[in-house]
Symmetry: C2
Subunit: 158 residues, 2 copies
């Protein structure tokens, strides 16, 4: 039985987040390695650069909402130039998110905080922004794959 007024539990939110991250992992895998790091449309970034942005947001957002301490993503991403390296970091963030998320105190979802010292939002809105940013740019990656004549993984599979 959920408390009255609850539309989403912490566990359902974590499942939702990791479900999207599993889909993003399949989109990374769907790219030929060279295209992952070089292909783009218009003035947009290659998908690998978007993926690096997701990595820079996911674990730091979870930790920031959990603790109020906003620290940048630790690994140096400039030297990451292969799909296996990107996937290894992806999987490390998956584990980190599973470890950190359950430590978020209940009151932190509604509490306002300056994410990364800059963007004042409730914890839930900072988390949703991170998820939505990943969906948004992954949608662009679907366009990249289609432009390359490749079939992206089904959007509804998580």
């Amino acid at each position: 039985m959920e408390p009255a007024g609850t539309v989403l539990t912490p566990q359902a939110l974590l499942d939702h987040w990791q479900g999207h991250r599993r889909l993003t992992r399949r989109v990374i895998e769907a790219f030929p390695e060279d295209k992952l790091f070089t292909f783009s449309i218009g003035t947009m970034r290659p998908f690998a650069d978007m993926v690096k942005e997701f990595l820079q947001m996911t674990e730091p957002i979870a930790r920031g909402v959990a603790t109020g301490v906003w620290t940048p993503y630790a690994p140096d991403l400039a030297g990451v130039k292969t799909k296996p390296d990107l996937l290894r970091l992806w999987d490390e963030t998956t584990d980190a998110l599973n470890a950190i998320f359950p430590t978020i105190p209940a009151h932190r979802f509604a509490e306002l905080d300056k994410a990364f010292g800059q963007w004042e939002h409730s914890g839930i809105n900072t988390i949703l922004y991170g998820i939505d940013n990943e969906i948004h740019h992954r949608g662009q990656a679907y366009a990249y794959l289609r432009a390359l004549g490749l079939e992206p993984p089904p959007f509804w599979e998580r």
Copy 2:
């Protein structure tokens, strides 16, 4: 004071949904009218067709989660061939969503139901699927605009 365990209130979810819908409206406006109905990349649909899908999902999802009755979107979209017509329907759905959403009984967010008689999910997951589907395809529309040499509206403005 939120109930313990609440990560998102119904009002915050509605605000989040309508914020995304305001951004989608700006993306519709950013397209030259002919490109809105004709331009695409690879085998993807023109953005107008994706927008019609959003219309077919948004109000019916809100009503279905509110009532358990899954009825298709009523207006005939086949004849919609102009940007003003699309925006008028968009704004009608905005009003409908504002009217229907507050009538969703609290227990329906967690309750499983077969959306449109087909997809069994909790109410919250059906709603999130609708929002995420819009973010996903709108991300593709950003790629269309960039391919056309046009600047899309900022993703973070809602």
